[in-house]
Every structure is written in structure tokens, then in C-alpha cells.
Amino acid sequence: MTQDLRYSALKKTPFHSRTSLASRTNKYYNWNGYTVPTEYSTTELEYTAARNGTSVMDLTPMGKYEITGDHAHQFVDYLVTRDLSKMKDNTVAYIIWCNEDGKVIDDGTIFKFSSTKFMLCCAVKIYNWLNDSAYGFDVTITDVTDTIAALAIQGPTSCSTLKKFGATDLEALKPFEMREYKIDGFDILISRTGFTGDLGYELWTDPKNAETTWDNIEIAGKELKLRPFGMYALEMTRIEAGFIQTNTDFMAAEDSLRPTRMRSPYEIGMGWLVHLNKNSYFVGKKALKKEKEENTTERCLVGLDIDGDKPAHGSVIYNSKKEDIGIVTAALWSPIMKKNIALASLKRPYGIKIKENIFAEIYHPEELEYRKIWARCKVVKRQFFNPERRNKVPADLYE
């Protein structure tokens, strides 16, 4: 029998036997060379599970890099714009990193095990960047993408699910903390992190343990509205949470062909992650300092509350004089907020000083014809959805 190369070209994750079983639609996409589901049944159903029960997502394709060595802490602090010099063991931090022009390459999370061992997770592959940056530091960078299986367990009942699964006292874990467990004879790392803007966890374990873990979590979540969810539903939740996505909301500096498309952290709402007063140097510091001092930031990334109920996918944004002032990077009719929301990249001062009299031109497809809608927008906080339960300690528990 000849092998079908269309499938063998992509790798299967350690959860593939389970995710493919759960898939009713056979919809997959290529994420970092792995095939993973975009949708298991219907996106709306999966979204609802994420906001009302527990959703499970296969995160294995995420770029995962172990950084070890005597200079590991120093190196990580040098790599990213955020001041991590006081980062504690067993915590996680949200980070971005820039190139020498102070343009953002990617965002991700960094896990600190000890001052000599870290793990960096991000959406794309950055081994070369890490390796080149590490020149002169006593560190070893290891790509552990293939050797760590990862699951996102997100939603209001996620803590209860994981407790039933065997993670004792998990409710005491604070946001951005992590803890190592031994469950069914396997080491499992659980961190209170996620991409849905809700209560949620991420679970990291040996690929050999992947299938058992998936099965046991499914059993544990049976009464807690557990459902696997795919990329489409994740996209909905992350827009509601106001999280940015590389190469969607901004072009990664290392990927963009046109220099004018690169964005500084200040242009994508990540200025809060840049600590120019950090004692040591970090990649891009000089350029970012200059940008701040000379006030040359050109754009901003904002949240928009748009009139009507038609999502403004890819819409151009105008001022009252009908001048083009920006573009929508992600849009959604938010079921939980009952609002028409979007993330948009605008030319300053729009979005910063001028927040009113902004319009989106929406082309709404209706059976092979477009309805053109001129919708008024309001600039709002990008974090549209931010429930109290997200950061509550101890976390909410359900029976």
C-alpha cells in the first residue's frame, strides 16, 4: 500500500489518536509542522464549553525551548524586554522579545524552574534566534517541542476537572504559578496560564503519558461539561480576552519582508512589558529607548466596540473625513459579551487621543452579494472579557 504523502508530511502529536477520535469534522491545519484540529464538532459548541465548562486543547506544536546553564537567568533577562531579574522559581511570565530595531519578534511565556533552568513557549519556531542571541552566555538551548506533550485545560470548571484528575490543592495555585505533580506514575507540570482570558491551566508531560492523560482528563471532566476545542474556538476566546496573535495582529519582525510592517511593542499595546530602566541591557533596548525619548511611535493596537452585529473582518477604519486611519486585525461577534468587537491597528493619534468619530467599513457577505455597512466604532480597552474568576485564589470549584 502506498503511503499518502499529504498526511505524512505533517507530524502527529502524541495526542493524535485521541484528538482524531474526537474529531467529527476531520478539519485539521498545519501548526509548526504538526497536524492539529481546527474544529472538532462545531466551533460555537466548543466556544461555549470554554466559557461555561472545561475545554481541552492540544498545545504540543507550540515552540518549546529549554534554556539551561549558569547564565540561564541572565540570558533570559537579556533576551526579553520585561525585567525578569526578580522572577521567582516555579513561576511563569508573559513576555515579548524584539530585534535590534526594537521591533517585536514574538510573544510567549517563560517558565522558571530555577536560576539555571527555564522553558520558553511561543507560537512559532525561534531556535536560531535563541541560539544566536545566546552567543557569549553560558547556556544551552534545547528544542523540546517534540519531547514535551502539552494540553490547555481552560474554562470555569477546569480547576475542578484537574482536581478530579489528581492535581491536589490545585485551587491554591495563583495565576502565573506552576507546580509539579506525580500522577499515575508520571511527572506532570501544571501551570495556571492560558490563552482564553478565563480560569485555566496548561499541562506539560512526557509524550509517553499523553494518551493516558487525555483519557483520564476526559473521565474527570465528564460531569463538568468538558469538550475538546480547536483553533477556531481558541481564536474567539483570545479576541475576547484581548490577547494578540503574531502574524495576525502584527507581523513578526523576523518574518516581515517590508520594514514598515514591523511593529514596536508600543505599537501593539505591549509597552507595559518594556522595562527601559532595567539594569542590564536587553535586545532592542537602545532602539526602544530612542523611540520613547523621541516619541516616534506611529501606531497603536486598540479594542473597538462596533455598532451593529456584523463582524468587521479585515475592515478598513476611517475618520470622519473618510481618511484611512487603520485596519481591523481580528474581529468577532462576542456571544458572551453580546457585542460586536474587534482589534484594530490605528495610526496615532487615533486610538490614543482621538477615540470618537471612528468608522469601520464592513463588507458583509450575503449570498454572493456584499452589504456595505458604515459602522460607528468606539475605542475601548482591548481586554473585552475579564471575569473575576480568572484570577481568583483559591480558584472556583464545582461538583
Binding site: N99, E100, D132, S133, Y135, Y281, G284
Partner: protein, 505 residues
Amino acid sequence: MSGNSSFDAIIIGGGHNGLVCANVLARKNKRVLICEARKECGGMVNNDITNYVPPVTSAVSSSIGGMQINYIPKTTIALSETGQHVRLVGNQHIDHKSISTFSSHDADRFNDFHEKMSKFSKTLGSFMMASPPRIMNNSFSDYFKLFKLGLNVRLLGKKNFNDFARMIGLNIADELEDNFENTLLQGLIAHDSVIGSNLGPRSPGSLINLLYRMAIHNNSLFGGIFQIEGGNDQFTKHLIEKCKSNNVEIKTSASVKNCIIENDCAVGVELNNGEKMYAKKIISNADPRSTYFSLLGSQNLDTDVKRKIKHHRSKGRVAKLILELDKLPSFNNCDDNDLDSRMVIAPSIDYIEETFNPSKFDKLSLEPTLEICIKKDSDQNPKLDIQVQYAPYKTHQGWENIKESYVESIIRIISKYAPNINECIERKKLLTPDDIESEYKVSGGHWHHGEIQIDQLFMMRPIPGASQYKTHLDGLFMCGAGTHPGGGLTGISGKNAAKAVLDDF
């Protein structure tokens, strides 16, 4: 800022560019300190490493208040195994005459060739003496400089312009074979095109190397080659005296460990013995790699800058063999005048290329090309100072294991031209690029602190973004041969760097 800046500028390294830079600054009433790691200043400009020097330009000389140094012009002689040597004294008309004795064809072509090359080297030279423009700045004067180069090239005339465009990336071998029939003459010019570089005569770009060399040697092929009266270290001595009269403080045996950085700005230096000194500006005479990775420190560099410095090509390919003699050997068919000349053993283009080939794989060629200079040591005993081209920076077997046999192979080559050489030798000393690196603290042991090739010249020297004597760290400058226009004992880098520093005060 902690500590007080007792100096206006600290120069790390007392090579000739550092000394020139110090003098220019001191003459503008700046308090300057030079920290030299070795026991004495001068770097690679000394009687051991340097054989021949180009003349210092009047601009450099006047910037430090004039130099009282006598340059002695030297003839070049390409040795032939048959004794049919080619002698060239530099003035193209005289060269023409000497060439006509062995090829009237070549003699006819030589004038045209020399005139054309000279014109091109002048065009490049006008650009070489000033600081390179910085395109990113968007400043008028920078664009004007670039425009001027473009204009100069265009003003060469249509025919020359086309020729210039054709030749800029060309290899020297093709050009020579097109013009000359005598292999010895071809070999000699090819030798001068590639000496000190990592290129063979057939490597693309080897021609621009020759133009570069001509630009600093009076725009002449063989006319700008000198020795300094009393030895090449007179150059250094003179600069040190100037320093003294200009109140420049010189600290020798003061090896700098790193720059002291405060608020992302260089404010001082820390010596290996822990001593700290502060100044308003820090200037590094060290090579780019050492400047960035040791003085500045890789933890203070952007990733892209690290990549560029890592890729900066600075592996030396020239070894120095010094043979101390009890008497002069007799060179076949050479008179006293010839023995006072620059003697080159590079009999043909193919000979050089074959020498070059193994060096690409870090292997030795047992038939290297040689530039021989007969000097006298302090006891008036003769010695041969030999530049050995294409000695790899590192070898697979390790230099210490093969040094001796390598020296023997060089002597074997010389014995073809001077059969009694073996009887005359008292002592032998070989300085490999590796030795030069550790002795003079130059990464790769490269003469010019980095290859002179089109991608490492002008606005790209040493790397884009650091081409105007500024490093990526505020307050830290570079003045060494790694910067534009590069090596060759001209002092231009030192002078231009001083100007950049003064502009920054």
C-alpha cells in the same frame, strides 16, 4: 556617573592608529590616556612584523602637527629561478623600460594598465580618506559624499566607467592574463593584489584589493613602497614623542579587561588588575571582534550585531619568518642594489593559486609565496624578514606540531634562489597568524583587523551600523584598522576617529 572623569578620552591600545588619534585629540586640548596591554606601544608596526610601509598622507601628518620621518623608496624585484628577474622601481616610465628588456609587448601594455589602475585608485582614494557616509542618517552631507563618489566614477568617462563597473568585482588573474604575457610579471602583480588577504588571484574581488593597496601607495603599483630610515619602529617612536609633547599619558602593561558601562553608556575602563579609570569618551584601537565581544561584552549587544561581528572575516593568512644570519647568502644573479630591494617569490599566478588552495581547508602549502626583506639587526648582523603568504590561521595538525617542517619548506624555496642560504642561518623564528593573535591581541592575527573586501569596506567597515568610528554603545568609539579605510600604516583611521570623537563632545 560614579568616579570622576579625570580624562576626556581613554584609548585602548597604543597601535599607530591609537597614537595618531591620541595626538589629534590632545592637540584639541583633550586630556588623553592610552592603555597599552604590551610593554611598549606600536602594535604591529615594528621591525618584526612590518617590512614595507606606505607614506603617511599630508592630511594625517598635519593633523598631528607634522611628522619628521624619512621614507626611503624601495625597488621591487620578482625573483626567477632562472635568474631572469624582473626589477620594478615604481615610476611607470622606468618600469616600462625595465619591462621592455624581457617583453616589449608587456612594456607597451604596462603604461596603459598602470594609467587605468591609477585613475581608478585615485577615484576610490578620494573616498577613502574621509569618514564614510552613513546612509541611515538621511543627512544631506552623507548623501553628498555618496553622490560625490558616484560623480567621480561617472566623470571617469563612459569607457572608463564601464571598465570600472566591470572590474570592481573581478579577479586580478583575468585582468593580468588579458594584459600581460610574462608570467613573472603576472605573478608579481597578483601577489601584491592578494597579500594580507584571504583571496587567491582567481578569487572574485581580488582586483579591488589591488586598487585599495594602490590608493594608499601613491596610486602606484610599485612606486609607493617605502622603508623608514632607522627602522620602521621609528614611526612609533616619533608618534610616542609627539604624545609626550602633547601631554598624552601612556600607560603600558595595562591590559584592559572591559569597558565600564553605566546607563547604557561607556564611561571608563577596567584593567585586568582591577584598576578602574573613567573618561568622557572611550576609544578602542583593538580589532572589531575584541572590541565588541571583550570590551563591550556580548551581554550588551543586540543579537543582530552579534551575528554581524561573528561573521566579520578576520582570519589572518600571513606568517612572518625571521631568519637571523651570520652572513648574507648570495642570491642568483643579484647585485647589491637587488639585495636592498623588496624581493618577491611568486613566479606565476598559478603558483600563488596553488599556494592559496590548501589554505582554504586550513592546510599548509609547502610552496608558499614569499616577500623577502633584508634588514640588519642591532649588532649589524643581516637577517631575512619574510612575509609568508597563505599560512592558515589554524591548522588541523596544530601549529606547534608542524612549525618546524613548515620553516624547512620555506627555506627550501629560498634555496632555489639563494643556494647557500642554509649555511648562513643562525636562528629561525616563525610567527604564525595564531602567534600574532596572541602576541599582539589581534583576533585572527589579521594585518588589517579584518578582510579588505567589498562587503567589509566603506559604509560596511567593520560592520553596517558601526561604520563611522562609533560602536553600538554610546561613548565607545573605534579607531583601529578594522574601521574605514583600514590597515596599511596610514593613520587615517586614527585621524578620522578622532574627528568623530571630537564631534561627539
